[in-house]
């Protein structure tokens, strides 16, 4: 059996390379939306928070998890909406 850490490291390595390839191609025009879009993705912590906030036990971990859900949701919801608002404004010259 290959331990999970190995797989995780593989995944980390691949995602970092992939991130570099993808971002390097974004033109300067889109850097602000890119920044806020990437920021929204970093709210993925919400997924980790959910399982901690739903244990049903009224302990510290549960409260911390609930707080994390709330904060990460601000990041996710706000981030995607604001990015969308910005991108909706980008228009090509009408022929």
């Amino acid at each position: 059996m290959i331990p999970a850490e190995v797989f995780l490291t593989f995944i980390l390595m691949l995602s970092i390379f992939l991130g570099f390839e993808l971002i390097n191609k974004v033109p300067a025009t889109l850097h602000t939306p890119l920044m806020s879009g990437a920021n929204a993705i970093s709210g993925i912590t919400v997924v980790g928070a959910i399982s901690l906030a739903g244990t049903g036990e009224q302990d510290l971990a549960n409260w911390l998890g609930a707080g994390a859900v709330a904060l990460a949701s601000i990041n996710v919801v706000g981030g995607y909406l604001v990015t969308d608002r910005m991108l909706a404004m980008f228009k090509k010259k009408e022929g």
Binding site: E5, S15, I23, T29, P33, M35, G54, L64, A68, G79
Partner: protein, 450 residues
């Protein structure tokens, strides 16, 4: 069921990747953002289906509160305040990672897990307070200058040592929560300490770096709770932040360490050693020149954001075009307070993105330009970056407005820009200063035209 959840995470990761890919071109960027949001939705739904979850009450409360705040903020924020907003959101993401790392702590955790927990707390904490300070500086809630004091480096080194020591103790005695609290406290403090010595206009670099950190914090949290999607998404964000940081530093011809540690732009204006005299111009005279021009280049900077002048700029641009003048915009990569800041503002005012030229495209055409209108830009059009080797911004690529036949500079005073240095452009023979708030000056021009 569990395996389905896991495969849902694979799908979600693929959507994030595809979304980021689509973000690469203005035509598909909006779709890309939506795809990425769908990826997030898939991940959240999958997480909710986890059988370990027995009580949804707190999850729902968290969602509703956080979602409502996020949605309201996103709706209400002004386009000119985008940099602050991103900083703030970023801070919340960091805090969430800190809390997740903390909550993942359990008595059976092995050392590897403890290390990842500490990393996610540490990075999350620094991201949180660092982003708050960045927010404060950008919104000018706190002073935007660089705060430097004697012994700063000693204090910072002590904090780092403290963090290292406390982390090591924590890994050895995870039961003893004083070490945990010490790490949390010190990382929050450290976040403040590293950002205060950096000037307001360098905040975009800081935010971008902190954004990268918040990705890495999510990554560390992913290792701590053994979750692939956190790792993939976190490292995508981590890589993106680092690249943006690099791009900005390159555009300013400064190293990252110069940005972070030099206290650049802390306000000491250099002795004015520039020759030549300042030639102001009235709105009316400026109108006559513009009326006769056949090729105009508009170069906006931070002042356009301050004056909220993007809409009147668009109006002026239309009037000029109706008058048969060719109008282009020259966008410097670090004009404003965020990479791409000017593009967003002008897009808000409905300027089509194919009219926005990057620095490398506009510079070769500058010689054919009759009038270059500089709207609240300063450092990014400073010819000293090209000419004067002793200038702190020497080597930074700038937009060469001084090659145009005539240059109009719209600003309120002779005050310097963020870099705090004199601008010889203002003293050149072909430069005319149109003093006053940019929005008002342009409003005046528009009235002349109609």
């Amino acid at each position: 069921m569990d395996i389905l959840i896991q495969f849902a995470y694979v799908v979600s990761a693929a959507l994030f990747i595809y979304g980021l890919k689509q973000l690469g071109s203005p035509a598909t960027a909006r779709r890309g953002n939506t795809i990425s949001a769908v990826g997030m939705l898939v991940a959240v739904v999958a997480a909710l289906l986890d059988q370990g979850i027995v009580d949804f009450q707190w999850i729902v409360i968290g969602f509703v509160v956080g979602g409502a705040i996020g949605a309201a903020a996103a709706r209400l924020v002004q386009m000119t305040s985008m940099p602050e907003m991103v900083a703030l959101f970023n801070g919340f993401g960091g805090m969430a990672s800190l809390l997740v790392g903390w909550a993942a702590l359990n008595p059976d955790a092995v050392t590897f897990t403890l290390i990842t927990i500490i990393l996610s707390i540490l990075i999350g904490g620094v991201t949180f307070t660092g982003s708050l300070i960045a927010y404060g500086k950008l919104s000018e809630t706190i002073g935007s200058g660089a705060v430097l004091f004697r012994g700063q480096q000693v204090v910072n080194s002590l904090i780092v040592l403290g963090i290292l020591g406390a982390s090591a103790m924590f890994c050895m005695e995870p039961g003893d929560s004083q070490w945990l609290f010490l790490v949390i406290g010190l990382s929050l403090l450290f976040g403040i300490m590293v950002v205060i010595p950096i000037g307001g206009a360098d905040m975009p670099v800081v935010i971008s770096l902190l954004n990268s950190y918040s990705g890495l914090a999510a990554c560390a949290a992913g290792f701590a709770v053994d979750n692939n999607i956190l790792i993939v998404a976190g490292s995508l964000v981590g890589a993106s932040g680092i690249i943006l940081t690099q791009i900005m530093c390159k555009a300013m011809n400064r190293s990252l360490s110069n940005v972070l540690f030099s206290g650049f732009g802390s306000g000491k204006v250099e002795e004015a050693s520039v020759e030549g005299e300042i030639k102001p111009i009235s709105v009316e005279d400026a109108y006559y020149v513009l009326e006769a021009a056949s090729n105009v280049a508009i170069v906006p900077g931070y002042g356009m954001a301050v004056a909220q002048a993007q809409h009147v700029v668009k109006e002026l641009c239309e009037l000029l075009e109706q008058n048969g003048t060719e109008v282009n915009f020259g966008i410097h990569p670090v004009a404003g307070r965020m990479p791409g800041h000017m593009n967003v503002l002008l897009a808000e005012a409905d300027v089509p993105y194919d009219q926005l030229l990057e620095m490398d495209d506009i510079n070769p055409r500058m010689e054919n330009v009759d009038v270059a209108i500089v709207i609240g830009a300063n450092d990014v059009v400073n010819p000293a970056a090209r000419e004067s080797e002793s200038s702190p911004i020497y080597g930074m690529p700038v937009i060469n407005v001084d090659s145009a036949r005539t240059v109009f500079v719209l600003k309120r005073s002779m005050a310097s820009g963020f870099a705090g240095i004199e601008n010889p452009l203002f003293y050149k023979d072909n430069t005319r200063m149109l003093f006053g708030d940019a929005k008002e000056s342009i409003g005046g021009l528009i009235r002349e035209f109609s």
